[in-house]
Structure formats: C-alpha cells, structure tokens
C-alpha cells in the first residue's frame, strides 16, 4: 500500500511525471485491450486482409488520438500557438519542443499495440494467409486457383471443418507467424536503437537551446495552472463578498421598512456577526425569496 502511495505521489510531483504516468497507463491499457479483444478472422477471401490490417492499424490511430487528448500539455501548446502576440513574444523553439515531446509520448501506446500484434501473429496470419505461394505447401499445390484461394483464406480458422486435420494449414500458420514475429522483433530493435541514439547524441547538438526550450515550456505550463488556481480563489472571495453585501442590503431594506423595531442591543460578538441582523422567520423568508428572484449584481466595489 505504501509503495503504491509513494509511486502515486512521485508521479504527481510535477507535470512531466504526470504525463509519463499517463503514457505508461495508456501503454498498459493497450496491452490489456489487445488481450481482452476476441480476435476472430472471417476466413473469407477478401475480408481477411481488410480485417487483419484493420485490427493492426485502426486501434493505434485511436490510441494516438487518446494520447493527445489525455495530455494536458497539448492544450497548453495549442493555446500558446494560437494566442495573439500581445506584449509577449512567441518562441518557436519552445513550441517545437512541446510539440515533439507530446508526439513522442502519444506514440508509445500505438507502437506497443503494433509490436504486441506482430509478436502474437494472429493479425498477420489472418491478413496474409491468402497471399502465400501455394506451390511451396504440399496440401495446396494441386488445386485449382479459385479453390486454393478459398482454402488458404480458411487457414487462420483451426476449427473449420475443412481445416481440422490439415497438416499444411499448420505449415502455413507457422511460416506466417515466423515472419510476423521477425518483423515485430526487428521493429522493436530499430526503435530502441533509435531512441538510444537520440538520447545519447542529443547533448552534442544545441544543448543550451534545449535547456531554454524545456525551461520555458515548463514555465508556460505552470503559469497556466497557477492562473486557473488564482481564478478559483478569486471567484471564491468574490462570491463571499457578494453574499455579505447581499445580507447587508437585505438588512438595510428591512430597517428602512420597519421604523418601530426596537433598537438592536449588543449580543455576544460571535452571534451578532453570524446572524447579520436577520432575526426572524419572515426576514429569513424574504432573504431567500430575494436570493432567487433578484440575485445581487456582480459588483462588490
């Protein structure tokens, strides 16, 4: 429990951490969705390719968009990009830095999906079972072209009556899965090497500019958060003052309309403050009615 709390607090310590946390959660969600998803290849000649490639590429697009939506910094960057210049210059380097950091984080979950898909192999088997060369596999070598297409399309479905005891089906499946896993591992290796090189070589180029861009992008983010918090506090104080004014104005109105009320005596300090001069049922009812029918103007000067 403590460990969980510590991890949680660490991730909330600054906004970079929060974004890394969201990125990680989205990647985990991506793996979980893939494992929960019930992949069922249609095993029909033209549908296989559409289904297989669709499952491989549409969810990553969705995950990428989700990564952009859930990242608060994307909004900050857009606002900074679209704001009028005013008294503060716009720094393109800062916006480029923010854009690239947002894109990098948003790309993690889609890449995880694609790699998991390739390493699992079902998508590629489904999409490309109709494209293998039938001559290389014994069971499909001597059949008419139309029939061979139908048969090959049924390869991903083990339980189909035609494929149940077909040894060539297993051969095709193994062949396609081997290609799929090779592709998956290659992509993973290339990406890791690319990231490694990028991180290793970055200090060799423009380190000072990078530090500046990172500082100012952090600043813009913090400034916006503080502005929102200040607005919240301000609206709270404004509301407090407005309500006090309202109570006072009601009290004044009541005083004006009732000349024969005995002079108010001093009560205990605390009670007087809290009662604010409204001391009977009719006055309270009048106050509540006025609050609904005639809210006070938004002016506490």
């Amino acid at each position: 429990m403590d460990r969980f709390r510590m991890i949680f607090q660490y991730f909330q310590s600054n906004s970079e951490s929060v974004m890394n946390g969201i990125c990680g959660l989205l990647a985990l969600a991506s793996v979980k969705i893939y494992s929960c998803f019930d992949f069922s290849c249609p095993c029909l000649p033209r549908y296989n390719m559409a289904y297989g490639l669709g499952i491989m590429f549409i969810p990553p697009v969705t995950l990428f968009l989700c990564g952009l939506i859930l990242n608060r910094q994307s909004l900050v960057m857009l606002e900074e990009w679209r704001r009028p210049q005013g008294c503060r210059k716009k720094d393109l380097a800062v916006m480029r830095y923010m854009c690239s950091s947002i894109m990098q984080r948003a790309m993690v979950a889609p890449v995880v999906w694609i790699i998991v898909t390739l390493l699992d192999g079902k998508c590629l088997i489904c999409a490309f079972s109709g494209s293998v060369d039938p001559e290389t596999f014994v069971g499909f070598a001597n059949t008419s072209p139309l029939q061979v297409q139908q048969l090959l399309a049924k390869v991903p479905c083990k339980d189909d009556e035609l494929m149940r005891n077909n040894t060539s089906r297993k051969a095709v499946t193994r062949y396609l899965r081997c290609w799929s896993q090779a592709l998956g591992w290659s992509i993973l290796l290339i990406l890791i090497v690319a990231v490694f090189l990028a991180r290793w070589l970055r200090p060799c180029f423009n380190q000072a500019t990078l530090l500046q861009a990172r500082h100012w992008s952090n600043y813009i983010d913090i400034e916006q958060k503080i502005f929102e918090e200040t607005c919240c506090e301000h609206s709270r104080l404004f509301a407090h003052k407005c309500i006090l004014h309202f109570f006072k104005s009601i009290r004044e109105e009541i005083k004006m309309h009732s000349f024969n009320l005995p002079r108010e005596e001093e009560r205990a300090e605390g009670e007087e403050d809290l009662l604010r001069g409204i001391a009977d049922q009719d006055q309270v009812n009048k106050l509540l009615k006025m609050w609904y029918y005639e809210k006070p103007p938004l002016d506490v000067s």
């Binding site: 709390r5 069922s40 669709g54 607005c231 709270r236 404004f238 009662l275 001391a279 029918y293």
Partner: protein
C-alpha cells in the same frame, strides 16, 4: 480499503477531478454491466432484430440520462436558467458551456457500452443473422426452402444447439462473418468518437479561447456562490437556533421564577461556567416543565433583545410591550366549605 481512500481523496481534490472520476466510474460500470448481462438471443425471425438493436441502443440511452441525473451541476444549471433576471444579467454563453460540459461527460458511458457491444459481436450477430448473404457464403440453391422457411432457419444461427441449416450455410462461417462486420463497426465507432473528441478539444483554443475563459470563470463562480450561500445560510440557521433556544430557556426560567414569587436567581459572578450554562434551570420539576413546554408550545421564530428580568414575568413571548404594565399580583382564593 486504503487504496480506495487514496483514489477517492485524489479525485475529490478539485471539482473537475471529481467529475472526471464519476465519469470513469460510470464507464467501468457500463463495461462491467455488459459482461454481467446474460445475453439470450430469441432466435426467431422478427424478434432477433428488435432484441439485438434494443440491447445495443436502449441501455446507452438510459446511461446517458443517468449521467445527467448523477451530475450535481444539473440543478445548478436549471436554477441559473430559470431564475428571474433581477439585478443580474444572464449570460447564454455560460449556460451553453455548463450544458456542453455536462453532456460531454454523460456521453462517455453510453459510448463505452456501444463500443463494447459492437466489439463483442453478439448483438449484431443476433440482429442481422437473417440478412447473411447466403449466395456468397453458402448454398443458395439448396432446394425446398421458401423465403419464410429460409429466414426461420437463418434466425437460428446464434443458437448453435438448435441450428438445423448446416447444408444451407455453415454456422461457424455465418457467425465469423457477422462478428467480423460487428468488430469492424465497433472499431470504426471508437475511431469516430475519439476523432470527434480530439477535434472538439483542439479546435477550441483556435477559435474561442477568450470566450471560453470567461464562461469557465463565471460557471465556476456560480457553483461556488451557491455553495457559499448554502454554507452561510447553514451558519445563520445555527446561530438563529442557538439564540432562539437560549432565549427560550431564559424566558422559561424567568417565567417559572416569577410564578414562585421570587426573582430569578442570578448566578454569582464567581460561580463558574457550568452554573452559567444551566441558564437558571436547576431542579427536576423546572426541567420537566421546560421540556413539556418545548413540546407543547415551541417559541416563535422571532429573536428579540435580551430583556431585563422584571417581576411582570413577561419575557419569552412575542414583542415586549413598549411600556411595562403594572406588576401582577398573584392572589390565591380559598373557598371555605364551612
């Protein structure tokens, strides 16, 4: 338990977080409800379509309405919309902002239900099994089946145990076909929703940022003002009740003392807080009278100044008279039976 408490605390840290939390919980509840639901296709020609589409579309509608009901801000929106203008103008942009933000949050659980339903495939399989293209997937030339008969056979596709049309079209082939279409629709729906959400979120800073900041500030202000007003009224009610009850006790104490023809005992200055808090009620019969009077004759909702203890025993009811009347003398008349 600790984990829940921590998550709860994080979500309550501000209003937006809290609303997002409710949103997430409803989405999870929606997915959980679907997995707990026992889907039973009727496997009859016209009922399939109604059942399948009903399960696909009616629960999302209910979840959408529930999303509004569970949102505390709906009453705030309604109040702001219906209040008379009075001294404060109404800003339609603020109302629009409040409604849009509530509608967006309420849309999440229904979207999750529709996505999960489509990706699972049972609903579409049930609803559209009679429309499977038999010519391409099976043997349309299978003899001896009229249209109605064929529909009856096809309607049984989702119910594997009673399916009797294996020569017409294989059960697995049909189910795979329908499920593929359903999952494709599901992913397209998810992509569409995500794209819409992305566009809504990213186009706003490009066009209406200043108006958005204004609407957000004032909608937040209205929410805070309502809460503060409720708090102030609660404080006021507390003080009102305190003073009212205090005056009631003092009044009763003075009244009862006057009935016994002696002035109310004043606590000596150095008697201590406890004695002061007794408010002059110091014995069983007095307390019983006070309790009985509280039940039979509650004091009016009108606070007045603390009156000086006078022998006319008036204090406690209504307005004190402008001129104190002459002191009342208690006389007891004895009737002798002599």
């Amino acid at each position: 338990m600790d984990k829940f408490r921590m998550i709860f605390q994080f979500l309550q840290s501000n209003q937006e977080s809290f609303m997002n939390g409710i949103c997430g919980i409803m989405a999870l509840a929606s997915a959980q409800m679907y997995s707990a639901f026992d889907f039973n296709c009727p496997c009859l020609p016209r009922y399939n379509l109604v059942y399948g589409l009903g399960i696909l579309l009616v629960p999302p509608f209910i979840l959408f309405l529930l999303g509004f009901v569970l949102n505390n801000n709906i009453s705030m929106l309604a109040e702001e919309w219906r209040r008379p203008r009075g001294q404060r103008g109404k800003d339609p942009a603020v109302l629009r902002y409040m409604f849009c933000s509530m509608a967006q949050r309420a849309m999440i659980a229904p979207a999750v239900w529709v996505s999960v339903t489509l990706l699972d495939g049972k609903c579409i399989t049930c609803a559209f099994c009679t429309s499977v293209p038999v010519e391409t997937l099976g043997n349309a030339s299978h003899p001896g089946l009229s249209q109605g008969e064929m529909k009856r056979v096809l309607a049984r596709i989702p119910c594997k145990e009673i399916y009797d049309g294996q020569e017409l079209i294989a059960n697995e082939v049909a189910i795979r076909y329908l499920r593929c279409i359903s999952q494709a629709l599901g992913w397209c729906f998810v992509l569409l929703m995500t794209t819409l959400a992305f566009l809504v979120r990213s186009l706003r800073p490009c066009f209406t940022q200043a108006a958005f900041l204004k609407s957000r500030y004032w909608s937040h202000y209205i929410d805070i003002e309502r809460k503060l007003f409720d708090e102030t009224c609660a404080e006021h009610a507390r003080s009102f009740a305190k003073v009212c009850i205090q005056q009631f006790f003092e009044g009763m104490s003075t009244d009862l003392a006057a009935t016994r023809c002696h002035s109310p005992r004043k606590a000596p200055a150095d008697a201590g807080e406890a004695t002061e808090k007794l408010l002059g009620i110091t014995d069983q019969s007095t307390m019983n009278t006070v309790l009985k009077s509280w039940h039979r004759c509650k004091p009016p909702l009108h606070l007045h100044q603390p009156t000086l203890p006078s022998s006319n025993g008036w204090a406690g009811e209504g307005q004190p008279p402008a001129h104190p009347s002459t002191p009342r003398r208690e006389t007891v008349a004895y009737y002798s039976r002599v």
